[in-house]
Symmetry: C2
Subunit: 204 residues, 2 copies
């Protein structure tokens, strides 16, 4: 059926738009190949555009060795190496709280391997928690198609247990229990702020 | 005079150390060529080591075009370009507050040119202030050998006035009046947290 304006002209979907404001495939973003990072970046852009939070992914740290400065054009980096981040990937401000987190995905079904984290990232989150920051991991179980906010305090417990010779992963059931499930939403690929609200409530 | 241990052996300054824990030249860091960025990074390392704050400079954003993956060695970036940061350079957490700022130095004596800032940096600070973040600029007048914390709300006023056809710089006297002087300190190149305390007090 053709939808018509009151003047009788047929409604045309504007160029570049496909009907709904956000494609409904966003709820299945994993299926169309959007990485967790891309999904989070889109979520952050959405949140910032609505004035709900200001959260950014930090640029990848690069050690630059050689730069050319050609005449009349932009400087070209000719030799550089990826260096290890000394912090987590994401931070920002939400409801006057400092947020700091990392995002990881795993294809494992039964557990989340701790080797996804580096010692310095855990140390960084500990330092942030000590300053009153809200720290967590966003963990996506690709096979289960579930994404959880997992509070840093539980992550620290498993990290420390591992250092003391314990298991090298966090069981999926533990993350189901102490993590906060981030439900699918129509407009936001990873609507994690609702889970952050739950975490903040639990701290006060 | 040679200092000796109780067993008679002479005390030797450990390799790589030069006596006091922080060289006293730190108070004159500008003179020995330390940039404001280096001075802030050292200050942040000091603050974090004391558990006083967690603040980091974000890595420079780079757009990577070509990467080589040689066998048995690290990936080499062969072509990349500097891209424009979408945020300020520094952020972190202090006393449960989200801090967000940029650091600029000028050799001007009478004013601080607003062209040192980009529109998107100002927009970013506005968004952070709206979320309850503590935002400011750290401005160093190289010739005066003075560094100020200049609260974002005053910066916004001059920025908006410029957009409306007003002056393109902030007078030095204005920064003396509404900025907070960061005094020299023996151990910390830029001891800005004291000025942040003053700013936080003024907001509550």
């Amino acid at each position: 059926m053709t939808i018509r304006y009151p003047n009788g002209n047929a409604y045309q979907t504007p160029a570049g738009k496909t009907g709904p404001r956000f494609p409904s495939t966003y709820t299945n973003y994993g299926k169309r190949g959007m990485s967790l990072e891309e999904a989070l970046n889109e979520s952050n852009t959405y949140y910032e555009s609505r004035g709900q939070a200001v959260v950014h992914k930090k640029p990848t740290p690069i050690q630059i060795v050689k730069v050319d400065y050609p005449k009349r054009s932009a400087a070209v980096i000719k030799e550089a190496y990826f260096s290890t981040a000394s912090t987590t990937d994401y931070n920002g401000v939400y409801r006057s709280h400092y947020l700091d987190f990392d995002a990881k995905e795993t294809r494992n079904q039964g557990s989340f391997p701790l080797k996804n984290f580096h010692e310095h990232q855990i140390d960084h989150m500990r330092a942030c928690v000590a300053q009153g920051g809200i720290c967590f991991a966003i963990i996506k179980f690709v096979t289960h198609e579930e994404t959880y906010l997992y509070p840093a305090k539980y992550l620290f417990q498993f990290w420390d247990a591992q250092a003391a010779g314990g298991r090298k992963s966090v069981p999926y059931t533990e993350i189901q229990t102490n993590g906060i499930l981030i439900p699918a939403a129509l407009q936001i690929p990873v609507p994690y702020l609702k889970a952050v609200d739950v975490l903040i409530e639990s701290l006060s």
